[in-house]
Amino acid sequence: MVWHTACMLSMSSACLYLEPAWRDVNLRPEILNPADFVPGRTIERKLRSPVDNFLVRAFDEDDDELLFLWEDPSSAYEVLDLPDQPGTPRIQASQLRLAWDASLDGEVVSCQVFDGEDTVTVRWRIVLDGVDADFDSGADAREVEP
């Protein structure tokens, strides 16, 4: 390119031009839900009782297969995955389900949406009313007979 520019400036009548090699530019996943998603910003989220779902819907202009990588503050969760919605590009979605628990107040849930090249991260901070609540039944403690 430098050579080509110098040649042009020298008013030469014939300058060899080499077209730069074409490179695919990966387009990052676009987050549809949460609708209030802003890259880098943590969304405050009031946890619904008795269970709540954190939903991420995204589309990828390249129609790459998206991977949803969840990180959560609790071991008591389920990743429940959702149907693709056909279209061009199709909408892909995943959700994480958390049981309401007072100990989750202030904890962060995140989901990395990965298209094989780029990652977009959605992050929520849980806010709760009733952080002193104690609704556990004790049923999760595994009892054994003496």
Binding site: S49, D52, E65, P83, Q85, R90, S94, D132, G138
Partner: protein, 503 residues
Amino acid sequence: MKRLSALIASLSLAAACMPDSNLAADGDRSDETGVDALDPSADVSELRIDVYPAPDLYADAEGAPTLLPQTFDVDLAGENRFELLAPVLLQGLVSGTAISPWLSADLPGSTEPIAAAIQLAQARGVQGAATSTDAEGRFGVLVAPGRGYQLAVVPDRADVPLWVDTVDVMSDTTLPVAIPGGSALWGRVLTAEGGPFAEAAVRAVHASGVAGPWTRTDADGNYVLRVAPGLWTLQSQGRQNGRDPLVSIGEIEVDTVGAQVDLRYGPLAAHGVGGTVTSPSGPVVGATVRLTAQSLDGYEHPAALTVEVSTNAPGNFDTRVPAGTYAVEVLPARGVALSPRALTGVRVTSDTDLGTMLLSRFSRAQVAVVDPAGVPVAGASVQAIEAGHGRRSFTAVSDDLGLAEIDLPDVPLEIALIPPSNRPDLALSWQSATGGEAMPAQLVFPEGQQLTGRIEHREGARVRGVQAAVVEIIDLHGVLRGVAVTNADGDFNATIAWPPPAR
């Protein structure tokens, strides 16, 4: 970019969800898809639909929800058009009788505002709410309109009874909660030798499963709780060291004059349990070693204890537990490609060295995913979840030949087989398998039938579809049978296995 087949904690579930243009206005979509609709005469009374509206789309300017999750019964005779009702406000004032005979107030106590935690839940489905009162006992919470909510009021203090009632909340409701003084549930917590167990945490659990507040025994091991007359379970958690068993005495009948119940612990002397966790590539750092008591020596009441400890840099762990028989699980961290390991019937009567426990690497499985006719299915998701252990989740997507390659731990697994979006005739299914050599070479989709419908809500006089709501079809056993996301018009289209697979 090619489809990725990877170990991940999630997957993009590709079940049947039809494009907007495929949805006929009259609700009969079978012609467009070539898939039979569910037989309206079939017994689907066992199916329910849980609807989760997207909280980011349905909230007012202050962030308060304008729609909340709701549960509906499947109605094949109708069109499965369900209207999410606007939340209503349940508010109230909690007061209670504090039994304080040493005060100059009239005996037996005084009525005063009570700080408490509030929970509303329905026995079946996803409708509910939780909040807490302010210091004056006031609370307010938005909830989806519904009947038969269980209202639990858990006072912060143990001298006021836990209150459980059933309420209908169909519109904005003000509900004064005046908790009666109840009856005393009292007694002593004793050590194995019969001496007082001081500072033991004690609580009462209601027959509904809701637990009341903790209190602590005094220096003589005495405790007193206030409860409503009825059936209760008494629990003691012992000291605040996380190593004392949770001891329970169930089916305590408390009448209006109360009940006296003593609870005796077994031996609390702890013995050391240690070992080393390793793998073919060296020590395993950060694995969780979980010891769960199968039986505890010398306990006359049911007792439970689970202790967890992490391995350090050389892969060693060391903890202390009372004498008994334990199940020991070694749980690698998420993202570590090692199989969990479990030992049962481990006797601990003195310091115990469990030696070196070797965790095996994952085994690679190649699974053929086919439809009921044996035709390979491309683009299907195979999600394997550890049955127990750490419930880690692993996912692969079948390639154009219907083959899915997936690295799995050598333990029992629950496998969700999720059809691609271009196969609305196939249903989501759950299968059991074991990783490693026992992993089946082929996974077969069951035939599915479509369940379609629409989720709506009211905006003033207009009825609109609820978009981007998650719709889950759940059977009588609580098993997820189908899932869909509503489109911009609120329509959903899920395919479920029908008739249901034998359990």
